[in-house]
């Protein structure tokens, strides 16, 4: 099949885009799980879609292609382009515009036979070699437009009539732009923006993770499953790259704005636990059956949330773990205390005195706090974990950092 910049299946490009964007050191040979042709086609597509964001680096073992985006200066998520590259047939696009033209007026309701007649006589007959559509193709397409919400049907007697969905939606470009970058499934807002005439970009975004765009369809399917309280079957990749199929009850999406990750919190019946799954590792979502206990499980998750620091609902032991640490700040470092207050999540801050504050939290997995605690390095005066293994790890990491940067006892004044 000859090359086309449009694609039928999103899965392959999702994988390539993620690798080119997040990692970006792979060469043609690195992507050996797919054919060289697949790699070349994916690369060419990305070059066509993303242009300025594609970079190249020559190394001893080949040319590297990668996507690099400063999302602070790029006001629209460029990864959304992949969602706008769905392939279609010549018939698809022809029918789409002709049908909407025939049903232009909201009052125009026509039966299938008349629509077909008008397609042939009013439109296709103008062409030298008209490509007429058979009845079943047109019916199938009309029903697809109905399911998309572009058309609606009305029964008159025994005949089904088709008409356009009338909507006088007012779409504010500023709101669309803002939420297309910040709301779940923001790519849908980007589709709406594409319909707008020229407008001025008012917003830019800091600390802006754009990779979640690649998981939009998965997120959408999970939102739908939650809406209909469905137990679902998901296929996900393990860290070793193996595919696992499992049945879960999706309960809530947890989004991190500090790490660029999105998680599904879901209940697994066989382990009877609520656990998290990374959305970018989920390959497919299929409804399985109604989950009669959905509301109870969601309430259960709600009850657990005050003890979840990130997404982990299980530490090494059966009991919840406690974390406590104190930080010191100078008289002119009040902002450190403010930082603690605004970043504490489910923790509690206690001001010990003018220059010291204590953080305390009871969580399922104290390991999740280590990353954040290290941001206070230079002022941590005491730490106490109920899980001593984690405390040892924290202190060992500090020692490793001292060695890494050549800090010894003699450096202490």
């Amino acid at each position: 099949m000859s090359y086309s910049e449009l694609i039928k299946n999103f899965d392959i490009i999702r994988d390539y885009m993620r690798n080119f964007y997040i990692y970006g050191w792979g060469s043609r040979e690195t992507y050996d799980k797919k054919s060289a042709r697949t790699y070349d086609d994916a690369k060419r597509r990305l070059e066509s879609w993303l242009g300025e964001y594609i970079h190249y680096r020559q190394s001893v073992d080949g040319k590297r292609v990668f996507i690099s985006v400063d999302t602070r200066s790029t006001v629209h998520n460029p990864l959304y382009y992949a969602w706008k590259a769905k392939s279609f047939t010549d018939g698809d696009i022809t029918l789409f515009f002709i049908v909407l033209d025939i049903l232009h007026e909201p009052s125009d309701f026509l039966p299938l036979s008349e629509i077909i007649e008008r397609i042939d006589t009013d439109y296709l007959s103008h062409f030298e070699r008209p490509k007429f559509f058979d009845r079943s193709t047109v019916r199938k397409k009309l029903n697809e437009y109905v399911s998309l919400g572009l058309l609606k049907t009305e029964k008159r007697g025994k005949t089904l009539y088709y008409g356009r969905t009338q909507n006088d939606i007012f779409t504010d470009t500023d709101a669309l732009h803002f939420f297309s970058e910040t709301a779940p499934c923001g790519v849908i807002g980007s589709f709406l923006l594409d319909r707008q005439e020229a407008y001025k970009d008012i917003f830019s975004f800091k600390h802006h993770y754009i990779n979640a765009a690649l998981d939009s369809e998965i997120l959408y399917l999970l939102l739908e499953a939650m809406k209909s309280k469905q137990e679902t079957e998901i296929i996900r990749l393990t860290r070793k790259g193996e595919k696992h199929t499992l049945r879960i009850v999706p309960l809530r999406i947890f989004i991190s704005v500090q790490s660029g990750r999105q998680y599904l919190m879901a209940y697994r019946r066989n382990t009877r636990r609520i656990i998290s799954f990374r959305l970018d590792y989920i390959l497919s979502v299929k409804p399985y059956r109604k989950a009669a206990d959905f509301d109870i499980l969601r309430e259960k998750l709600k009850g657990m949330q005050p003890y979840i620091w990130g997404v982990s609902t299980q530490g090494t032991g059966k009991r919840r773990e406690t974390v406590e640490f104190t930080v010191y700040f100078d008289n002119n470092e009040q902002y450190i205390y403010d930082r603690l207050k605004r970043e504490k999540r489910c923790g509690v801050i206690e001001r010990i005195d003018k220059n010291n504050a204590r953080f305390y939290a009871e969580v399922y997995d104290a390991n999740e706090l280590l990353t954040w605690m290290r941001t206070f390095i230079c002022r941590i005066t005491s730490v106490h974990f109920s899980n001593k293994e984690i405390e040892t790890q924290f202190k060992a990491d500090l020692e490793a950092m001292y060695r890494m940067y050549g800090v010894s006892d003699s450096d202490i004044s």
């Binding site: 769905k86 232009h104 969905t165 709101a175 959408y220 809406k227 979840i308």
Partner: protein, 303 residues
């Protein structure tokens, strides 16, 4: 379904071509121009070919179309449901608009369906009427290129008046705050909206001497990492929103070079520290010195 051809740039491009064709004829040159503007870099040839060969039976050889009306594509149910969801977001109050959605439209998601677990607790107050009024005034001023007189409360709780040309509103999901990026004032190029006490359109002329760029103060940072405890994925994802390059140095050994704005240096420092010994900064020396300094101070805490 999100991945559908009705949302493709090709459909948008063809609707733009038809938009002109129903009014007048379109020639191949114009079709090419429209494709360049609305589609991908390599789209011009397939679009041109499909039109010329009449594969898409929408444009006749003489540049006319049998269509009678400008294409008017209804908004899909998926799009309406998404609009319904954002209309329920508290930040929607900042925008003076009503989508006029049908009443029976179900939201695609609500706050019950998702939870941002690591944004900071002291975000801007989107319920505050004064904040909303100022936000809308700023929005209008950016569009009209109107200078603003803004009084802010600075870090020392003193009130400061400045006149600025508003350029853009920058939003951080992590901070859940808006910042106004401005030009014309050397002391107030970035203003936190939450710190604004009053904001009025400047009465009189205001000249911006030099068009300052906000992102022309980039610095680079090089760090190396060993892929242990899933460090590789965590680090690459964490720093993915910066302009960066990555190299594989050995079996489990990688180098990452990141460009960042120098005003964010302290933030970069603590972000690097958060990864502990999993990452090792190798350049620049100045940054390494800052890390060493923090580590020395930590060591003196005698944990």
């Amino acid at each position: 379904m999100i991945f559908h051809e009705i949302y493709s740039v090709y459909y948008i491009t063809v609707s733009k071509i038809l938009n002109e064709a129903v009014k007048n004829t379109v020639n191949i040159q114009r079709i090419r121009e429209i494709a360049i503007k609305y589609a991908f870099a390599e789209s011009t040839i397939p679009v041109e070919t499909a039109v010329k060969k009449q594969a898409w039976q929408l444009i006749l050889n003489d540049g006319n179309t049998p269509l009678h009306n400008k294409p008017d594509i209804p908004i899909s149910t998926l799009q309406m449901r998404w609009l319904k969801s954002i209309s329920l977001d508290s930040r929607m109050k900042l925008f003076d608009c009503d989508f006029n959605l049908p009443e029976d439209i179900e939201p695609l998601f609500t706050q019950e369906d998702y939870y941002v677990f690591d944004s900071y607790h002291d975000g801007d107050d989107y319920e505050n009427e004064d904040y909303i009024r100022r936000f809308q005034m700023i929005l209008k001023a950016i569009k009209k290129r109107q200078a603003l007189d803004i009084t802010i409360k600075n870090k020392n709780d003193n009130e400061v008046l400045c006149t600025v040309m508003p350029d853009r509103l920058e939003y951080s999901e992590k901070d859940d705050k808006f910042r106004l990026l401005t030009s014309g004032s050397p002391t107030a190029s970035v203003i936190n909206l939450g710190r604004i006490i009053s904001c009025n359109v400047h009465n009189g002329d205001f000249y911006v001497k030099k068009d300052r760029k906000h992102f022309d103060r980039l610095r680079t940072l090089t760090l190396e990492l060993t892929d242990e405890r899933n460090a590789l994925e965590r680090v690459m994802l964490h720093f993915s929103h910066f302009e960066k390059t990555a190299e594989k140095l050995g079996d489990k050994h990688y180098r990452l070079t990141i460009c960042y704005d120098r005003s964010d240096e302290t933030e970069m420092l603590i972000r690097v520290l958060s990864f502990g010994p999993m990452v090792h900064v190798t350049a620049p020396e100045r940054f390494i010195a800052m890390i060493r300094n923090r580590l020395k101070r930590q060591k003196s805490c005698e944990l």
